[in-house]
């Protein structure tokens, strides 16, 4: 083999996984076939995770190992395939298989008694373990996708700390529970303010009547970490973060799978907890978290608790209010702009699957940072919920407790005005739209003026 051939081969090898992914037909297969929202889920969630740099600091004091735990691929010296002669029934069926296209004169080999004994490796009875042929191994190895190379980072070994076992009728799983005083700040915002939310804004922005009775003390904040974003029965939620308020504390409950066999137990527990809550608060959860959990609950015969539950998905209202003033509407962007939270050393959610797989395989892993990421997500649900519920519509300026920039202020007023227009609350709309107009840059002025005009016209009683 010459050098150019080797190069080509090497190139093909490197390209193989990429090409196969790119060439994968998505239409017929409809990988996302199944959910109208699934592709939205992919986009949305993919963008919700920060893809930024990865720090190298391990959580306090745990043993750290820098490693890239990659294992060598199949050895070339695998046992040679065995070639068992076929069993009686096999050769019989093979005999009738042979029917060359000839007439009698041409006397085919068909059905002859001395039909060649077939060396059937495929489909032969397994006589012992590990007799799979080497060619098959290399074929399978080629078609298996290589996992993305994880950036080197600091890792821990063994189970994450502070876990206790939780028992359910469906088995056990592990929980880490911490109680934070409500005064604690998450970013610049304190958790306490979530007690002051008014349902008014939720109702206005979502149109969901079930949110009218929203009670922060009976709400459940939920965020999950999964083994993949693609959905489907093979994707597991291995970490379910829940948050709620008890007296003067914020309880952060993280249910964790120490192994895939604990899935039913965790789902059972989560379903019960959701069942007891009055409302669910998520970020993009109507598209992602809810469906991942619901699907897996169905697989395990756990009754999904979502159908009649009030569900506040913060993504949509926050996006409606702030998207024009921000680069995007990802959680990280919103929490930074609205709650002053700047995460340090956040582990991108894209590495969550790898962390869990490393843990299961007994390799050094980064689960601590996945727990931290999930904790921050749940706490941000509370502060963002507080922010949204703290907006006072009554005041013409529609102020909020946080200190947003002029850009944010303008965008929020515009978003509110549009929401009011949608609900045909014209006189309020006119007021808010005027306030927005006052802050708007020139290029947005015509739009808002038109909205003010419309609102004013509609808010006047009609003359006959």
């Amino acid at each position: 083999m010459d050098a150019s051939f080797r190069d080509r081969l090497a190139r093909l090898r490197r390209e193989a996984p990429v090409r196969s992914a790119a060439a994968a037909p998505r239409d017929a297969g409809a990988a996302q076939a199944d959910d109208a929202q699934a592709s939205a889920a992919q986009n949305g969630v993919a963008s919700r995770h920060e893809s930024g740099a990865d720090g190298d600091v391990a959580p306090g004091g745990s043993p750290t190992i820098a490693s890239s735990a990659r294992e060598a691929t199949a050895s070339a010296s695998a046992a040679p395939p065995s070639h068992e002669p076929s069993a009686g029934d096999v050769s019989e069926s093979d005999a009738c298989l042979r029917e060359p296209r000839t007439d009698d004169a041409a006397a085919p080999a068909a059905g002859e008694a001395h039909a060649p004994a077939l060396e059937r490796r495929v489909g032969a009875e397994p006589s012992s373990h590990h007799e799979l042929p080497a060619w098959w191994k290399s074929r399978v190895q080629r078609s298996s996708q290589a996992a993305p190379l994880a950036p080197a980072g600091q890792r821990t070994l063994g189970e994450p700390g502070d876990l206790r076992e939780a028992l359910t009728p469906r088995g056990a799983f592990a929980v880490r529970e911490v109680r934070l005083p409500l005064e604690q700040r998450h970013g610049l915002a304190s958790l306490e303010r979530v007690l002051d939310v008014r349902a008014e804004l939720f109702l206005l922005l979502t149109g969901d009547e079930r949110l009218r009775e929203f009670d922060p003390r009976r709400a459940l904040f939920l965020d999950i970490e999964t083994t993949g974003l693609s959905g489907g029965a093979g994707t597991k939620a291995f970490l379910v973060g829940l948050g709620w308020i008890e007296a003067r504390e914020f309880v952060l409950w993280q249910g964790f799978l120490r192994g895939p066999e604990e899935e039913a137990a965790l789902l059972h527990e989560v379903a019960e907890r959701i069942e007891c809550a009055q409302a669910l608060v998520t970020f993009f959860g109507k598209t992602f978290d809810r469906h991942r959990l619901e699907d897996k609950m169905r697989v395990h015969g756990v009754r999904p608790p979502f159908k009649d539950r009030a569900h506040l998905d913060l993504y949509h209202p926050l996006r409606a209010l702030y998207r024009p003033a921000l680069a995007d509407a990802r959680l990280a962007t919103l929490e930074r702009a609205l709650c002053g939270l700047l995460r340090e050393d956040d582990l991108s959610g894209a590495y969550a699957p790898e962390a869990w797989y490393d843990f299961l395989a007994g390799r050094p892993h980064r689960l601590e940072r996945v727990f931290a990421h999930n904790r921050d997500d749940v706490l941000s649900l509370a502060t963002l919920c507080a922010h949204l519920g703290g907006i006072e519509l009554a005041s013409a300026a529609a102020v909020s407790g946080a200190a947003p920039t002029l850009q944010l202020e303008w965008a929020r007023l515009r978003g509110l005005a549009r929401a009011l227009a949608q609900r045909k609350r014209w006189s309020e709309c006119a007021q808010v739209a005027q306030a927005a107009r006052a802050l708007a840059a020139d290029e947005h002025a015509p739009e808002l003026e038109a909205l003010v005009d419309l609102a004013l016209r509609r808010s006047r009683p009609r003359r006959s």
């Binding site: 239409d27 297969g29 029917e99 080999a109 373990h129 590990h130 098959w136 399978v140 029965a233 619901e294």
Partner: protein
């Protein structure tokens, strides 16, 4: 639901109930010969008496009429269903229908294997609807169709019946065309889901949780046209069925199977391979048929030396003039899309001489849009269309009723297809005529010389190997994603009792890291959606849309492979006698823009397939007696490139070549496994493989091996690709390359590496026992192909390869390749 009318009085009307279009006009009736009568026996007699045509018929055969066997509606049928059938005038069923329905209602798994248009649809529709009636709408059914068109047909039929029953159950088609916005509603409310293997594989099964209620109540699985599930594709689908059953079991249901297919040689075995169940086969056709006359028509020799015969399409036109007319419906089957269009045009242009209007003559093929096809099917059923020219698209169970005459322009390549096509002719109580026109093709010529093969050779056994290790392991990945595997399930024969399941799972857990074994359970353990990366080894519904450049409306579609040779820029796209020139082919977005032109030529593209060796994995060599290499066998990977290079413009009728231009399209690429057999130069000389004869004999051996190998590999011949090179640029000596025609390969040629001696021995026996002197299509190919010394030369090669010692393992180093 028209098929089942066969049992009612609808068809008894015969020609009397025909619409006005049949009424003879002044122009009609000018036909010269036996066109006036509807009776095929007389028609055949007239053909035999015809001084010109009679000489072209090489063979005649008559099959006596078959009586109708029917019984009253089975007592087991639900009263409301009986009522419905009776209301449609269907008071009796053919015996096969009754048997199949009774067995299905009794809970048996059934395969109904009677010919086209024998009322098979009712055999699965009735039990499905009865289950719904009995369960008050709780039972669910899944129906699997090989094409989208068939599923849409049946969906309409089912909904009609359900509406007639006054129920609001819903059947719907769930495929790539189903808008995502309605999918959820369909999943939740659908009682009968009609889909295709690709959608089941990549859309439904991996998301079974969303279908949990459907699977919980799944009672019946229908697989229509089950004979199309064969070869590598069928083997993949068989594994998809295993996954389906595993999921059903998870939701505590055990659905029964109802399969419909063409008549199979071994229905029980095929069904077992496909479903893992032992089915009851019902294949004794109770529908009546008149006498059937078969003629084999061989076009006259134009050039006896070259063996060149008159063009088959031209001869088909000539035959049509003699047999078609206003009182008779005929179907012409062609092997290629282009041939369908050319013949449609020819026949339309001579419609007047047959006493027909051009509109009574139609083309039909898969690429026509659904509405267009429905219109033609309807015209055929009503009798308004007198001639239809079709590809194999009308071989499957599309309902067009039965016709009077079937003309097969060329042998379809298999006995199963031959009988399916012939089965389109034959009305109730009337005789029918089937003519096979032999092309210059070696196989056709062989059949013209030995027509008894057609009537005596059994239908081919379908190659199906669900336990193919590569297919099995790829499907096991998908299955493990869907539900974990437990050791105890495997001990109980889970996954169709396939061998090696535990080994494969261990391997996927150990080496591939896709699974994790905890205790006795293998869990999916990767961030991936495997069904997306595992193909079913058959194109899939990945079509190119043909758009009118002016109106921007779609006028047709074509599969991707076909688009390379029919949609390149400059191509003439033909449809029902009209010609469209392709102005732009947007390959990336799968759209071809065409403009209606009046072209006096059509185009034929040339395709160049080349291969490159990527890697050699194994090699075996046999030494010559005096030392040195005799022959070698290799297994490894190859990269196969298929490129449309240029196209010819060919004038209609004269077939004159009026120009030739290049095609600029990216190649289709395939990385796959291959088996190579090389002969050393010394041995080639010793076998007197010299001069121009040498290439022909070597190629004969190659195509013979390709034809014989599938019998050992349990695949279809089309699953294997072949390149025979007399002096291979890669190997520097004669080489025969056989490769898996599936991306990545599925181990077919690996198996060939082990069993090549058996294949060679079988090939040798075929040639040795062939009665021909100088070679025929049944052995090394006809004289024109294999050359005058082709047969003895091929015999020498095969004897040499099959006698003596086996090749011994040798290192596959670079030096040995360029020996």
């Amino acid at each position: 639901m028209r098929e089942e009318r066969a049992g009612g009085d609808e068809q008894a009307k015969g020609p009397s109930g025909k619409p006005d279009t049949r009424a003879p006009s002044a122009r009609r009736g000018s036909a010269r010969r036996a066109r006036s009568g509807g009776d095929a026996l007389e028609l055949a007699r007239a053909l035999r008496d015809d001084p010109e045509l009679s000489t072209r018929f090489a063979h005649w055969r008559e099959i006596p009429p078959r009586e109708e066997h029917s019984v009253p509606l089975p007592a087991a049928l639900h009263p409301r269903l009986r009522e419905q059938l009776t209301a449609r005038g269907q008071t009796r069923l053919y015996t096969h229908q009754a048997q199949a329905i009774e067995a299905a209602l009794a809970g048996e798994d059934v395969l109904i294997g009677t010919p086209t248009a024998s009322g098979k649809t009712l055999c699965y529709v009735a039990p499905v609807v009865q289950r719904l009636l009995e369960s008050k709408g709780d039972a669910r059914a899944l129906m699997l169709f090989p094409t989208k068109a068939l599923s849409q047909d049946q969906s309409a039929n089912l909904n009609e019946l359900i509406a007639a029953l006054g129920e609001n159950w819903r059947s719907f088609t769930y495929d790539g065309d189903t808008p995502p916005s309605v999918r959820r509603a369909l999943r939740d409310d659908g009682h009968v889901v009609l889909t295709n293997p690709w959608m089941l594989h990549a859309g439904i099964l991996p998301n079974h949780a969303k279908w949990s209620e459907f699977f919980t109540s799944l009672r019946t699985i229908v697989i229509d046209e089950a004979h199309t599930l064969c070869g590598v594709f069928g083997s993949s689908v068989a594994n998809v069925v295993r996954r389906l059953l595993r999921i059903a079991e998870h939701y505590h249901s055990r659905p029964q199977f109802i399969l419909s297919s063409a008549t199979l040689r071994d229905g029980v075995e095929h069904a077992r391979a496909l479903t893992g169940r032992t089915v009851r086969v019902v294949d004794e056709d109770g529908s009546p048929a008149g006498a059937r006359v078969f003629g084999v028509y061989n076009p006259p020799l134009l050039d006896p030396v070259a063996g060149l015969r008159a063009n088959a399409l031209e001869e088909a036109r000539r035959l049509a003039l003699a047999i078609c007319g206003p009182d008779r419906q005929a179907i012409f089957f062609c092997q290629q899309r282009t041939a369908v269009e050319v013949l449609t045009r020819y026949l339309k242009e001579c419609a007047g001489s047959m006493g027909l209007e051009p509109d009574e003559i139609r083309g039909y093929r898969g690429g026509y849009l659904p509405l267009h096809r429905r219109e033609i099917e309807d015209g055929l059923r009503r009798g308004a269309i007198k001639i239809v020219v079709s590809t194999n698209a009308l071989e499957l169970g599309v309902d067009i009723g039965r016709l009077d005459v079937a003309v097969l322009v060329g042998y379809p390549g298999s006995q199963a297809s031959f009988w399916q096509r012939a089965g389109r002719a034959g009305r109730r109580g009337q005789s029918s005529l089937t003519v096979l026109i032999a092309r210059s093709d070696p196989l056709d010529q062989y059949l013209a010389a030995s027509p008894s093969y057609l009537f005596e050779a059994p239908r081919e056994k379908l190659g199906l190997d669900p336990n193919n290790l590569v297919i099995l392991s790829e499907q096991l990945k998908c299955a493990a994603f869907e539900l974990p595997f437990h050791e105890r399930d495997l001990a109980q024969g889970a996954f169709g009792g396939a061998p090696h399941v535990a080994d494969v799972l261990d391997y996927l857990a150990g080496e591939s890291k896709l699974l994790l074994k905890r205790g006795e359970t293998w869990h999916w353990m990767a961030d991936a959606y495997p069904a997306q990366d595992v193909p079913l080894a058959s194109g899939g519904p990945d079509n190119v849309l043909i758009l009118d450049a002016e109106s921007k409306k779609a006028i047709g579609e074509i599969d991707r492979a076909g688009s390379l040779t029919t949609c390149h820029e400059g191509a003439i796209y033909q449809m029902e006698g009209e010609t469209w020139k392709v102005e732009r082919f947007d390959y990336e977005n799968r759209r071809a823009y065409v403009r209606n032109v009046d072209s006096d030529y059509f185009t034929e593209a040339e395709v160049d397939t080349s291969w490159q060796l990527l890697r050699v994995e194994r090699r075996g060599e046999r030494e010559r007696e005096g030392g040195g290499e005799d022959y070698s066998i290799w297994s490894g990977e190859v990269h196969v490139t298929t490129l449309a290079t240029q196209y010819k413009k060919i004038r209609f009728y004269t077939r004159e070549n009026v120009g030739c231009e290049d095609i600029h399209l990216p190649p289709e690429e395939l990385d796959t496994q291959a088996f190579v057999l090389t002969l050393s130069e010394q041995s080639a000389e010793a076998l007197e493989l010299v001069g121009p004869e040498r290439g022909a004999a070597w190629r004969s051996v190659g195509s013979l091996l390709r034809r014989v190998a599938p019998l050992f590999l349990r695949c279809q011949p089309s699953d294997l690709g072949l390149a025979s090179e007399v002096r291979s640029p890669t190997f520097g000596r004669p080489a025969i390359v056989l490769y898996d025609r599936v991306q990545g390969g599925v181990g077919l040629t690996e198996t060939l590496f082990e069993s090549h001696r058996d294949v060679v021995a079988a090939a040798l026996r075929i040639v040795e026992r062939c009665a021909c002197k100088l070679g025929c299509p049944a052995c090394v190919g006809p004289l024109a192909e294999a050359g005058a010394l082709g047969k003895p030369a091929a015999l020498r090669i095969l004897r040499h390869l099959s006698q003596g010692a086996r090749p011994q393992p040798r290192p596959a180093d670079a030096e040995s390749i360029q020996a």
